[in-house]
Amino acid sequence: MPKGMLIIDKERCKGCGLCIVACPHQVLAFSGELNRSGYNVVHMERPEACVGCGFCALTCPDVAIEVYRERVPA
């Protein structure tokens, strides 16, 4: 499995939690941290489990997630 990584724009996140449900590897969870708009933002609870599938980003209604995947050696 390739390793993935997410960059979550905390100020765009509205804490709807759709990404948490979409993730097949239970990587994401609410952080308990509030952003400037007062939303409980999502963070990577288990970053080691991320494979960079991008399901969270496809689901995010606020386009707050960027997805990176490990380069596969040529």
Binding site: M5, C16, G17, T59, C60, V63
Partner: protein
């Protein structure tokens, strides 16, 4: 978290056709997903310089703020008519109308049906969330039987208010439209399917084939009084029984 992007390749980011403006939608609202999908397709087809979006009245009234393409904000319900005018005036433009159910299937019924019946070479995105979102959760023509809204607090009673209107099926009866489909966004598979359908609707226009309509079943967690995840489940289990998913006509 320490982040090293050197060994990493970006596989998903914000589409270039989206501006940096934050969406004004409520948390968990599917409008945002759909807006991102359309921007991604504009990117993929490389048409941002000649695309004109027609914004409706409703929650998506600010649609012109999200895209880097040109846009017009139409009078309530008249987005398909405005799209007709833009496309006829300059057929080289790629014109899409983005309309909700109160806009497209209620006040704009005449404009919507006749644009389809004329087979205008435009792309219409019809967002069906069975409620008037922006104005405060009133009953829409698409509201389900028994659905509680602010104007039907005891649930929609068909004896008083009629039945939910299947607008896409009506348009699919016409001879002119090229592509009419109903999609949803309640899980990843549906999002991928909806992306393909919208891509097809834009490609049809690029190829000069004619009128394409993509109805998208969306959620309104705020006015449905549900959590975003519950609203997704509601679409999957209840709404799709009344509004079945799939292509209604595909003459492309």
């Amino acid at each position: 978290m320490p982040v090293s992007t050197e060994k990493m390749v970006k596989v998903f980011g914000r589409p270039a056709s989206l501006t940096e403006a934050r969406f004004t939608y409520c948390p968990g609202c599917h409008h945002g997903i759909l807006t991102r999908i359309i921007a991604q397709i504009i990117d993929e087809l490389g048409i941002v310089e000649r695309t004109v979006g027609i914004a409706p009245v409703g929650c998506a009234v600010f649609a012109y703020l999200w895209y880097r393409c040109d846009a017009i904000q139409a009078s309530h319900g008249r987005a398909s008519a405005v799209a007709t005018g833009v496309k006829r005036a300059n057929p080289n433009l790629i014109v899409f109308a983005y309309q909700g159910d109160g806009d497209f299937a209620s006040i704009g019924t005449a404009e919507s049906i006749h644009a389809a019946n004329r087979g205008e070479n435009i792309t219409v995105i019809f967002v069906n969330n069975q409620v008037y979102g922006m104005t405060g959760g009133e009953m829409a023509p698409t509201s389900l039987v028994g659905q509680k809204t602010t104007t039907t607090p005891d649930g929609r009673d068909p004896a008083l208010f009629g039945y939910p209107i299947r607008f896409s099926e009506m348009i699919a009866q016409l001879d002119a439209p090229v592509y009419v489909t109903r999609q949803a966004l309640y899980d990843t598979k549906r999002i991928v399917d909806a992306t393909k359908a919208i891509n097809k609707a834009f490609t049809n226009q690029l190829e000069g084939k004619g009128y394409s309509l993509v109805e998208v079943l969306a959620t309104c967690p705020t006015n449905w009084r549900m959590k975003p995840t519950e609203a997704n489940k509601h679409v999957a289990e209840v709404v799709t029984k009344v509004f079945p998913l799939g292509d209604l006509i595909d003459r492309g």
